[in-house]
Amino acid sequence: MSETQTGDQKGTQGAVTGAEDVSGRQASLWADAWRELRHNKLFIISATLILFLIVMAAFPQLFTTQSPRDCQLERSLQGPSADHWFGIDILGCDYYTRVIYGARVSMIIGLSVTAFAVLIALVLGSSAGYYGGLTDTLISRAVDIIFGLPTVLGAIVILSVVSNRNLFWVTLVLVVLGWPTMTRLVRSSVLSVRDSDYVNAARALGAGDLRVITRHVLPNAIAPVVVYATIYVGLIIAAEATLSFLGIGLQLPAISWGLMISQAQTRVLSEPLLLLFPGLFLSVTVLSFILMGDALRDALDPKLR
């Protein structure tokens, strides 16, 4: 603990120059993390997978020449063949093509819900954490209230009364239900950083609140948020699939892995491949985001060093 004592003394001395030092300090955390990540097998695998999935979502034509809506009932439920790698589904569509196109919806929802939730969380969470007081109370109460609604249940209730359950609404509902978790995380992260010496130093040097928050507090508080946001993409993708499976999310003719599995459920025993392929893609997608999040956590968490 004698280390901490001298450390504190050094801290206050260093704090005066600390304001400039911060960008150096936090740059080195990311630089260290990047160096470690480059060699982390799990990171490389998951990053490759994610990149692959993004390409698949954006340019499905690269993977399949057929159209997902080219469905001919006569050829319904044929098994896999050279022309149809995953076989044909109930409605006579090429299953492989549909599975490929299914990535689009998952990626769009996963990434956009996370992006919006993080954005809202950054604003509200840092305000609550930094200013405290009434701001914090109001925001925290709002967070508590929405927390009282488990995600799936809340989504079910809201979507029950939405007549047109399209991409927009599902995204909106998940954002509305998702920002509290992110906000709590940002808030606690900001709280832990707020009273650091370098923040106090920056304020003593006359930096305005916005500058302090954006230049000093957030960069150091953001690591756990990055980790969780990555995992969150995976969780949202799973949530959308679950909702679509239940019938309360996306509806036909949208192409979603959850929907495909829902359609396949009566034939799980007779044609298990109908479940297997979208299920596999779905799981691998979620897995890659979770693995990436884990890899990021290992790299960014100084305690594990």
Partner: protein, 307 residues
């Protein structure tokens, strides 16, 4: 301790009102016709329509509507289905089944999850640790409905170990669906226990306990574990919400006649009021459960009592 309890109860009040108001507003106060929305594409006769309007007080001003809605809730009136059956009656029939299923899931979570987490933490970096980490990561990645179907096909049909639907075999019928339901949470619990225990094993008080000449068993089992399980138990409260969502899927897939299956079916048959009614009830259960867990937290961690 009293102050903490009082504060926590006070915190629960805005949550209770806020959440119920949110549900109420979302269902009944949005622009558009709530009855149309609740019934989806189903045709409703004008008589039923008028009755529903009356039932849900849709002709009253909004605040009065909310007041009557809350009044109904307090009396455990969660609405009716389109045939006039009380949702609360449907629920009272089905809840015991769901509770049993949830208990089985919790049982798996706690027994296997904590055990796996403890083993992994004690043998950090070993084969068992890596196995636990690997399996939990995979389980967390597989959405519950995919897991459910897979389990049904592999363990139920192919290996014939478990019944794949219904409650024909009594308690045994609950095992597979319970495992599926609890799987995700089990994975989280295992990881959380592992992380928590690893952290605590590094703590100063563990060093002191060892220096006191206590056996390793006692140091880990009494001192470290007691601290490590605090975050795990608090997680179990939050987990209940996830279990409820999962129950809808699991009961649907395995055809278990519980509350979740009712929601599952009602979504498909577009019986909005039933869905909303049951979900509201579940949300209330969730709020109460969280409250209990928070209070339990104070019992477990004495530092909290004096905040």
């Amino acid at each position: 301790m009293g102050r903490y309890v009082a504060r926590r109860l006070l915190q629960a009040i805005p949550v209770f009102f806020g959440t119920t108001f949110m549900i109420f507003a979302l269902v009944f106060a949005l622009p558009g016709d709530p009855i149309r929305a609740l019934s989806g594409d189903k045709p409703i006769s004008p008589a039923v329509y008028a009755e529903l309007q009356d039932r849900y007080n849709l002709n009253d001003p909004l605040l009065v509507q909310y007041g009557k809605y809350m009044g109904g809730l307090v009396q455990l009136d969660f609405g009716q289905d389109f045939r006039g059956r009380e949702v609360s009656e449907i629920m009272s029939e089905r809840f015991p089944v769901t509770i049993k299923l949830a208990l089985v899931a919790f049982g798996f979570e706690i027994l296997i999850g904590i055990l796996a987490g403890v083993l992994a933490a004690l043998r950090r970096g070993s084969y068992i640790d890596n196995l636990v980490l690997l399996t939990t990561t995979m389980v967390v990645s597989i959405p519950v409905f995919v897991l459910g179907f897979t389990a049904q096909v592999v363990l139920g049909v192919k290996l014939g170990l478990f019944p794949i639907a219904g409650l024909s075999q009594g308690w045994y019928s609950y095992l597979l669906p319970g495992l599926v339901l609890g799987a995700l949470s089990l994975a989280y619990v295992a990881r959380l226990t592992r992380t928590s225990l690893v952290e605590n094993l590094r703590a100063d008080y563990v060093r002191t306990a060892t220096a006191k000449g206590l056996s390793r068993k006692r140091v880990v089992g009494r001192h470290a574990l007691r601290n490590s399980l605090i975050p795990v138990i608090t997680y179990l409260g939050v987990d209940l919400g996830a279990l409820m969502g999962g129950a809808i899927v699991t009961e649907g897939i395995f055809n278990i006649p519980g509350v979740g299956q009712q929601v599952f079916q009602s979504i498909r048959s577009q019986e909005g009021p039933v869905v909303v009614g049951i979900v509201t009830a579940l949300v209330l259960v969730f709020i109460v459960a969280n409250l209990i867990v928070d209070l339990l937290y104070a019992v477990l961690d004495p530092r909290i009592r004096y905040e």
